[in-house]
């Protein structure tokens, strides 16, 4: 059983690579190089700050877009193109299919982020003429960004399991934006009254808490990150991903394929 999941994951990874998704790395590399070279001429004294801010923001945005777009097409495309028929007529459980797809895409994103991280550190090395001890926290920021990808991938898979690619994309991006303000949403909810308070609170807890996974500005200022935060964020991402994946499985198990 678990072997099939691994095979599906490996095939998904192969698909992403051959789909030329990883070419986005080229665009990213160009961006980072341009930034590294130009930043020294635009703003003296805060080169490292700009490189870290820009680099990590780019990693985050590129990755979320990839996660959403590929995650959405993972299931929809297979249903549209009917490549699923010959897969599901084999002894493959539908849930194994979803989980395998998820792991494959998550793996792709981790690899992608790794290469991007190299780019960020290279640019930092160039403008900063060496690393400082505070730069180590950038790795934590990158880890949190990967957690963001994992959550977004699971969400994209969930939407993809029941709605059209276009609608899924809309939902996924909306949740990304709202999730980035999740802490403020809980603040709004706390100040509301009556029925809207209940609704806002429910929404605030169901929306993915991406704001706590975004520590880019504090890392750019070389602020340390507490282990408690790392631990809690990891656990949260796992729970939320689990929730979204279970939802995807439950929907997909019932779906009539056209």
């Amino acid at each position: 059983m678990s072997a099939r999941v691994v095979h599906i994951a490996a095939n998904t990874f192969r698909e992403a690579v051959r789909d030329r998704v990883l070419y986005n790395l080229i665009a990213f590399a160009l961006l980072m190089s341009a930034a590294a070279v130009l930043v020294g001429q635009i703003s003296i004294g805060i080169e490292r700050l700009v490189v870290v801010n820009l680099g990590l923001t780019a990693v985050s945005l590129f990755g979320v877009v990839i996660a959403a777009i590929i995650g959405i097409s993972l299931v929809s495309k297979e249903i549209e193109k009917r490549t699923l028929y010959t897969v599901l007529s084999r002894p493959v459980h539908r849930w194994e299919f979803i989980v395998g797809k998820f792991l494959g895409l998550a793996g792709t994103l981790v690899v992608n982020t790794f290469f991007m991280a190299v780019g960020v550190f290279a640019a930092l090395l160039y403008v900063g003429h060496g690393f400082q001890s505070g730069d180590g926290w950038i790795v934590v920021a990158l880890y949190f960004i990967i957690l963001q990808f994992v959550v977004m991938t699971a969400l994209a898979l969930l939407f993809s399991s029941f709605s059209s690619p276009l609608l899924s994309a809309v939902f996924a991006f909306s949740l990304f934006v709202i999730g980035s303000f999740a802490e403020d949403l809980r603040g709004f909810a706390g100040m509301a009254q009556g029925l809207s308070r209940w609704l806002a609170t429910a929404a605030a807890y169901l929306v993915p808490n991406l704001s706590s996974l975004n520590i880019i500005s504090s890392v750019a200022h070389q602020q340390p990150v507490s282990t408690q935060l790392i631990f809690s964020n990891t656990l949260y991402a796992l729970m939320y991903t689990g929730m979204a994946l279970c939802g995807a499985v439950l929907v997909f198990e019932r779906r009539n394929l056209k």
Binding site: E183, D184, N209, S218, L229, S232, N233, M239, M243, E253
Partner: protein, 312 residues
């Protein structure tokens, strides 16, 4: 032929467990990061940068920062904190993003200017904030009022206060009090009646809960100050007349100087303290009073009563 019941059960169970756990962890995360969204403000070089980065969604972002400012202040005030260092940047960013958010300027006037624990003791910065507001909203009488308010209450610059009220009285739909205060300022600055008028106008000019609660609390304090002054004067008169201090308010009543035992705004009777002094029964109930407290009394950080927030 239906989807497997076992798989449905397992995954539903896991989903529910994950849901519950994720909510619990969220609460924990919020407590860990209670200051995080706010402290990000410190990393922002300037409000202009935020405006540029907001990609045109200024209004929404202004609302977000406004909410953060209110929450920040509310939490700090509730805890009786003396440190409001983030309030100024938060308000400045809010108003940079949305210069027409009048309530932000009112908030600044009421809570940026006064000293801790009721404010951030940044009167000059508050003045700059409100002046920026006036530049962007020249017909908004409330802003002129707030400017005069800061000059009067914190900076004690009565000339500038009068000037601000005078300008404001010319704005459309201006509250009539502005004209009166501009006129009376020269003669009656520093008097109880002026202060009362100012707080009453503050209360009437805003819909913000915090500002209203602040105004009510101050008005109550003024009432107590006035009562205590009057009562102590009566006691002095009694002393002059009879040669000794009254032992209770009953004596004053018997002497025809009082109609009934005097009570404070909450209905508790005032205390007659030794040395001809009058005190309130619960000084902690009356933040901001300058009279009627026992000697050596150190006021705790001011708290607003829940009923003051809800008053309309």
């Amino acid at each position: 032929m239906k989807p497997s019941a076992r798989i449905t059960a397992i995954f539903t169970l896991v989903l529910l467990v994950c849901l519950v756990l994720s909510c619990c962890i969220l609460r924990h995360l919020d407590s860990l990061r209670s200051q995080a969204t706010l402290e990000e403000v410190l990393y922002i070089p300037s409000p202009k940068v935020v405006k540029r980065l907001s990609l045109g969604y200024d209004g929404l972002l202004a609302d977000v920062y406004w909410t953060r400012a209110v929450q920040y202040f509310g939490n700090k005030h509730h805890l009786g904190s003396r440190d409001y260092q983030l309030l100024a940047p938060l308000l400045e960013i809010t108003t940079a993003l949305d210069p027409h958010l009048i309530v932000a300027y009112e908030f600044g006037a009421n809570f940026l200017a006064p000293p801790p624990p009721n404010g951030a003791a940044l009167a000059q910065r508050a003045v700059q904030l409100v002046e920026y507001g006036i530049r962007n909203n020249p017909d908004e009488w409330r802003l002129y009022y707030n400017l005069g308010f800061i000059y009067y209450m914190e900076l004690k610059d009565y000339a500038k206060a009068a000037d601000a009220f005078a300008r404001g009285s010319k704005a459309p739909n201006a509250h009539p009090a502005l004209t009166i205060m501009a006129a009376e300022m020269a003669q009656h600055a520093g008097e109880l009646e002026m202060a009362r008028m100012m707080w009453t106008t503050a209360y009437q000019s805003t819909r913000d809960r915090n500002v209203r609660a602040n105004a009510i609390t101050h008005l109550r304090a003024l009432r107590v100050d006035q009562d205590v002054t009057v009562l102590e004067k009566l006691i002095t008169d009694y002393h002059q007349k009879t040669g000794h201090l009254p032992s209770s308010f009953g004596d004053l009543k018997a002497a025809g100087m009082l109609r009934a035992v005097p009570v404070d705004p909450f209905g508790d009777p005032y205390k007659l303290a030794p040395g001809g002094r009058v005190e309130v029964r619960e000084p902690d109930d009356f933040p901001f009073i300058t009279k009627g407290t026992p000697p050596g009394y150190v006021p705790p950080p001011p708290k607003f009563r829940a009923s003051d927030f809800g008053a309309s």
